[in-house]
Symmetry: C2
Subunit: 450 residues, 2 copies
């Protein structure tokens, strides 16, 4: 058995793969005997695979995918590359990943990878601007644009950096300074340059895939461009959501009128316009459709020309736990209601003691030490305490559900970007609705269903 | 190159895999030269992989997974096993999959697979009850219970079937008849028997994984049981959602009070109780948190003891497109607001002409011909018209975004179960927010990001 014959051989990954095979067979209502018949396996061997005594090989994945209505990825778990829930990348490791990217025949950026994890969709880079400009003209020919990329991009600016972005046929240049930030939509072309050849000018380009990567991309790429386009909804369009739910339930206007007490005319009007219905109307419509009011409300965006700018000077700041004896001072950075589960903060660590825990969050977390002084991260994992010292330029990834405390001998600053993973509110409520004992089997199915 | 060396060799799948490799390299900001260096590939070969000239093999997936912070499944698309968006399974194919499941030392169920697809989480079975009981006692010793399973289960009853379910330490037996239905939560133990040895007694057990399978299961199984448990939210608990968003944003009570205009006391009270805030308060809190009101509202459930029963006699019925000259009569079957995107209907086809299209939906669809007469499904895919005749006992899977028309020479009945895929409302609004040209690259990335 060579490393090429199977996905990652680490024991915890292998155990998750074994549990997934059992879950897949359960879902298809195959017991061991019928699974062995379907997959052409020797009698008695299926239990060896589902218990982890035999490894899940590519050959086995291939057999299951050919015999059953499964995809290869349906049998594959993900890798945990953290240590006790954290993955630290040192400044010198980032430096070792340094590469110069050329644009227009000359050096344009220096890229360095910072903390990424196989558990999250972050692709965070430290990027230094090597092209120096003497103006703020978006049409300056020495500015080389990219074509945009799938990932959302949160950018934190350090030093005299020019930020360029293009929306439709309009191009913009915004001169940025330390502490300014921007949140941008996927596939929006952009560029960065320096306004000074001598001062440090770099960005933290924290890209992430969010809800667009993973299962949704797989599904939509199989449906194709036309169907994907037909499924797009415009942020802020409440009427489109009402129409979608009526179509989903095949409820006609007269039937919805009968059930909700609204007139057919009013229902048609609500479906045809983006505005929100009155609260009482929403309650009546939700009840008539058998959904919660939440489902009739839509997200909106505050982006303009595909980006949301947050100048440092106008950013809200506040103390935690409160103004009296604060342990942290937070500054809110760029974000948008379209991503309600993304939090971007500049954190000033004001305490030298690990006595101000931040509440655990459902989000994944990314940390980068912006300040010139180190800090210490304190956390618990499976009830065991841990601590890690982060030096300037170090970065870290933290899994959800972890209570962190930060401390620093001398005041220092941290960039924090929290994002949603695949555990959406819908998944969280589904977990909460499961009967007792379900959770353990959900994370690691260990038995036949009967 | 043998079939064992690579995931499914079909050309469309291979093209999607090639596009995914390009997208993954883009996300990691690797151009062809650096990708070849990272993966140990010959100069010039990376473009052969991302263009589909060379197949994506297990060896290549392994190299990428070891060199980059990726999981094997991040590079794997899914298979489209439909023909022009539909997959029909004939009654005789279902019959060929027949298998007798024994419980308690004797035959208990006859299972037959019906239409499944690699594109959706359905695992729908036709199941005949082989155990006959003479009473409606949930403690009848000839009833053999299962342990419950991960999948949600919508069940449609035909004939004198007893339905048993257990919640906590309480067991229930409900005598069911044709047209009754039930929707049940994952991991709820249940069983079925027949009340007659002579009358047909079977169910359509339409299980599906929904939001719980796929990426979310992978993520949570890596985090483990304790963290998964800490992320569970109780349906109907609005206070928990407010607390979650405050923790996510690290906003303190005094800071949220300052921004929203609510008192700190009121905010603490709202966070500590399940009740919903007033609408004006929700608008103020959402604005202060930088989210849409939608995010502060939670789903609720109408299940009792983990199930929602829908007796046929009490089920709403209505005509489509309207009471004058209807083409279809719908009867609403069991469902729950916890799954707002699940629709279960009994459809009577009243028209012999394909002139009453049902509006396209974002949902996946499953169809089973309940009636004794055939029907014809008419649809378009990529602007081409198609039709398929479905005989009694035939079943079909339909991808999202398809406009269907149904016609039948003689009136007949169809069971329809529509479920959400991975394309959640959040994904749909993200698609709608993408700049022009983004959608095509999202479904099939075909270029470097610069």
């Amino acid at each position: 058995m060579s490393i090429a014959d199977q996905p990652g051989p680490d024991p915890a990954y292998a155990a998750r793969a074994a549990a997934l095979l059992r879950a897949a067979a359960n879902d298809l209502k195959r017991n061991d005997v019928s699974a062995e018949a379907d997959l052409g396996l020797p009698a008695g061997s299926f239990a060896d695979y589902t218990s982890g005594r035999l490894p899940i090989t590519w050959d086995l994945v291939g057999r299951a995918t050919r015999a059953w209505p499964l995809n290869e990825r349906d049998l594959l778990p993900i890798h945990d590359d953290t240590e006790h829930g954290l993955r630290v990348v040192r400044a010198k490791e980032s430096l070792a990943s340094s590469r110069i990217i050329e644009r227009g025949g000359g050096p344009y950026y220096e890229y360095r990878d910072t903390a990424m994890s196989r558990l999250a969709s972050y692709r965070p880079e430290w990027i230094k601007m090597l092209r120096v400009v003497g103006d703020n003209d978006p049409d300056n020919p020495s500015v080389n644009w990219n074509k945009g990329h799938l990932l959302y991009q949160f950018t934190y600016f350090v030093g005299p950096v020019n930020y360029y972005y293009r929306s439709g046929d309009r191009s913009f240049c915004v001169p940025m300074s330390t502490g300014d930030s921007v949140w941008g939509l996927p596939f929006a072309p952009h560029s960065f340059t320096a306004r000074s050849a001598t001062e440090p000018a770099y960005i933290l380009a924290l890209t992430y895939g969010g809800e667009l990567t993973g299962d949704a991309q797989r599904e939509l790429s199989a449906f194709g461009h036309a169907i994907t386009g037909s499924l797009a909804l415009t942020p802020g369009d409440h009427g489109a959501m009402l129409r979608a739910l009526m179509a989903a339930r095949l409820v006609t206007v007269p039937e919805l009128a009968r059930r909700s007490g609204l007139t057919g005319e009013r229902i048609s009007q609500l479906g045809a316009t983006p505005g929100r219905a009155g609260w009482d109307e929403l309650v009546a419509l939700a009840g008539a459709l058998g959904v919660s009011v939440r489902e009739l409300l839509v997200p909106h965006t505050t982006t303009e020309h595909d980006v949301r700018l947050q100048p440092a000077g106008a950013a809200p700041t506040w103390e935690h736990p409160g103004p009296a004896g604060p342990a942290y001072r937070f500054t809110q950075l760029a974000g948008d209601p379209l991503h309600p589960h993304t939090t971007s903060l500049q954190v000033e660590v004001l305490t030298s003691r690990a006595d101000s825990p931040l509440p655990p969050t459902y989000q994944h977390q990314y940390l980068f030490v912006l300040g010139d002084e180190p800090l210490t991260v304190h956390w618990h994992h499976h009830d065991e305490p841990f601590a890690a010292r982060l030096e300037p330029g170090d970065s870290a990834y933290v899994i959800p559900g972890i209570e962190l405390s930060l401390s620093a001998e001398a005041r220092t600053r941290l960039l924090m970007l929290r994002i949603a993973g695949s555990t959406t509110p819908e998944v969280r409520f589904a977990l909460g609705a499961m009967p007792a004992g379900g959770l353990g089997r959900y994370v690691a199915e260990d038995r036949l269903w009967y």
